[in-house]
Symmetry: C2
Subunit: 222 residues, 2 copies
């Protein structure tokens, strides 16, 4: 393998951190300082430390920006186009995380100019190939909510079917038929009725539900 010894590639981790608030899907972006990306928005990320696994790096970056841990976090894809970084070849291991709406921190002020939740439908032009990564993460998320329980990270412990439907609509970017949604989501067997109803609200109180399991679960259809 004559090429091996010449390999000079860095490995980075980039996080696509999603939340849903006010019935809209948001993604966390940081604003860069360094040229040629001064003031350009990007996904939070950085090079892997020499003694750090990719998972640990993704958790570190998530905690740096949001102070959140113990949420849904999954490796998305390795992006390895040869010219994706103007500073040299970098393979990015992209992750996606789903977190409840939360405050943001600027612990890394010296590194970034700003950090902000961006409405996914208003995504600006991002640095590197981060638009592509963010779009793929959103696509994976849209697939995943249709056959797994990943939405648990985006909802409070107990929720109504209306709240759940709004999360699905925000991610899928379309309105769903209420009866059809309820029928299908209950048939998946991922959520359980609590036997008590929400106390607030002017309307007829709605039944509360919770996820049976908060680990990753794959729905078997065969």
């Amino acid at each position: 393998m004559p090429h091996s010894s010449k390999q000079n590639i860095k490995v980075a981790v980039d996080n696509c951190i999603f939340t849903v608030k006010d019935n809209e899907l948001y993604i966390l972006l940081i604003q860069m300082k360094k040229k040629p990306f001064t003031n350009v928005w990007a996904l939070p990320g950085g090079l892997l430390w020499q003694t750090e696994t990719p998972d640990k790096a993704a958790i570190r970056i998530l905690k740096e920006e949001t102070n959140v841990s113990n949420v849904y976090l999954e490796q998305l894809y390795a992006f390895g186009e040869t010219k994706r970084d103007p500073f040299g070849r970098v393979v990015s291991l992209a992750y996606f995380a789903l977190i409840p709406p939360t405050g943001l921190r600027l612990l890394t002020l010296s590194k970034y100019a700003d950090v902000k939740w961006w409405k996914f439908t208003d995504l600006p032009r991002l640095a590197y190939d981060h638009n592509r990564i963010a779009l793929y993460a959103k696509q994976r998320l849209a697939w995943k909510i249709e056959y797994t329980n990943v939405a648990w990270s985006l909802l409070p412990e107990n929720f109504t079917l209306s709240q759940l439907q709004k999360v699905y609509e925000a991610i899928l970017g379309k309105r769903l038929d209420k009866r059809n949604f309820r029928k299908k989501v209950l048939a998946l067997g991922l959520i359980a009725a609590l036997g008590k109803k929400e106390l607030l609200g002017a309307h007829r109180p709605a039944m509360l539900y919770k996820f049976k399991d908060k680990k990753a679960a794959i729905i078997k259809i065969l």
Copy 2:
């Protein structure tokens, strides 16, 4: 990020190449020469060339060992445990491929001692963390055939429902109820009856089917 400049990580691609023959799932393994893995079996792979994308590297490695191209190939996962390679830190971008049963080549004889299809249920102790990678690939494959059309790469152009069921049983490692399988697989809408029957066989000729689409397709269940 004080750690960045110290990063010394190589990036490799490793392929999990599956086929189904005689109702059994097989994976392609190569036998290594170099110490400390002399005569140990492993997944075919190697370091990424400096100017090569991960996808191109996976296709190159697949073609080197099998002379097959234009089959189902998908990036599986990036494996990045810090001590997974005794020669230094290597992040492995694992791929999985599904190919029809085929001859194997030893074009890379100088590099490997042997290359062979191994029954997946008889997997030997592999080099590095390759047992873990192979098990994860098999798990992903088992998930995928339940909601996508990936099985097309493992079947001839036209096939009977019995042939399809045998591929599913080989991958899932269990017998499936015939009536239930047919009902569910037809409900997925991925295959179409050809309107003609197989000509060989002593039994009543069975209807032939084909996949409607040979691109990756995700089944929407909501």
